[in-house]
Amino acid sequence: MSSAAGITIAGLYSDPVALGSVFDELPVAVVFISKEGRVVYQNRAAEVLTGYSSFEACGLACSHVLRSNICGGRCPVREDLGGEESVSEEGDIITRDRRRVPVRITFTRVRSPEGRCLGYAEIVEDLGDGGQRSDSPTHPFSIGDIIGRSPTMEKLFAMLPGIAQTDSSVLITGETGTGKDLLAEVIHKMSNRAKGPFVKINCGALPETLLESELFGHVKGAFTGATHNKPGRFRLAHNGTLFLTEIGDLPLSLQVKLLTFLDDHVIYPLGSGTGVRVNVRIIAATHRDLAAMVREGRFREDLLFRLNVVRLHVPPLREREGDVQLLMDHFLRTFSAKFGKRVSRFSSEARNVLLKYSYPGNVRELKNIVEYAVNICTGASITLEHIPSYVVEAVQSQGKSDEEMASRSYGAIYEDVNLLKNRSESGQVKWEDLERRMILEALMKCGGRKSKAARMLGWGRATLWRKMKQYGITE
């Protein structure tokens, strides 16, 4: 492939203009293809959108680079644009980070000065709007694709607009599957950088040497196999946001380089002594405890302070009161519509199991469970048999262990009580206070059901009622 910097446009000024320097700054993706549909050039915005560097893309069939749904049956290039000079089509593409992005592609004929058709230009506009896909209805309790109405999520949603408007670095923490990536994208889409690129890189997915070149780029000849210049993700994210996911997995040597960037906003590609100034906002995310990693010497304290300007914690699903039900119903509607099924509800047993499950994989796990259930359900209602068996078994064993725990804990309370009763005789602790606490704890464990609480305490229902009255515990 010929270097984009070497391609020139003549006739505008006294000297030819370098094509690369002009096209790379355009906010829309531009791809030039040959008459046979092979890529001959793509600008930087196209590199961001497709995930291929210009070097990798050149010579490949356009369909492999853009991965658009237009490429299959209705590709205008195959029909020579139906004889028109320009054709516009709406569709979607699959990006390298596996997102489906709605786009409008304008196909334009490229002619020689004599009027001979040499190929086509494709101008690709990203139609994504703030994380809301055009084919998905908006949800009253959502920002972007994040849904929730629990107090913890409402608090998080309230903070987002203010945070998005600043240019400060953001550190997003939270367990796996809580939606850290979605949150980062929402912040980008709500910010003034929304028209710029959102570039994501997983710091844990690549070995150290590759990661350095991927992040900061390299110049031709920097190492064996560096056959061309590579811009790196920082330069691809120029005027946009760079999302560093799994920042806790970033090797120490690269932590220093990131710190240097955060200080002066200049990056040094591998093999180059010349720095490149880039305007990039950093959002980092991790499921690890960075403070603990600092104590263990595995993460730089100064980098943590730099990234920690704004810290957002995405709560695990078990701490999002009421959101499981909301998300269950949302995913049921989504997958039912998507798979063309008429599944519209959960049976009460299935709903109870899903509400009681602890979701160690958080929202991602809940989504997968509902998708599985909708897939295999042939009727209108999801029942227990449609729920993955590991979920049902986990809830059942959880129920049993709760009972055991409860009886064990009350046994322990009795032991404590007897011990303390002896102490109370010496005036240190009052028996009445302990008994009152014991009743309250039993009632809480049993969700306020007095018969069950009485059984747990080893009393009759009347005894419990009498003691509740004695201690002023009202219903």
């Binding site: 990798e56 490949l60 299959g72 989504k367």
Partner: protein, 128 residues
């Protein structure tokens, strides 16, 4: 895929002779079993009633496939397949023959561009 070079049931999402550029736009799929030392057996090509990610996922699960080779795939299908303990080698560009060669030599990785471009030999084209 080097570490999984025992017996594998493989599905390649195809459009014609090449890996389909998108998983959800593959009108056909090649299925085969690979065992080190024995090569490929039980090869067959399945034509789908219509290109659809759901149909393909159903086929993959029902056929007990261990490894899927495909082009671009949406995250939710990727997550679903990996959740089902299926190895997904995505963003592969190349013909079925080139994919089979790469599998047999144990070098196939996600993102590999296996096709021959002007002035290059296939041996040099592995992405990493």
């Amino acid at each position: 895929m080097k570490e999984e070079r025992g017996r594998q049931k493989i599905l390649v999402a195809l459009r014609g002779e090449e890996v389909a550029s998108r998983f959800d736009m593959a009108p056909e799929a090649w299925l085969g079993t690979y065992r080190e030392g024995e090569g490929f057996t039980n090869e067959k090509t399945v034509v789908l009633p219509q290109a659809s990610a759901e149909n393909l996922c159903r086929l993959i699960v029902s056929e007990g496939v261990n490894t899927v080779v495909c082009g671009g795939i949406e995250q939710e299908y990727y997550d679903y397949l990996t959740w089902k303990k299926i190895n997904v080698v995505d963003f592969v560009v190349g013909s079925l023959d080139e994919v089979k060669k790469a599998i047999a030599s144990g070098v196939l990785r996600a993102g590999d561009i296996l096709i021959k471009r002007a002035g290059e030999s296939t041996d040099e084209l592995s992405e990493e």
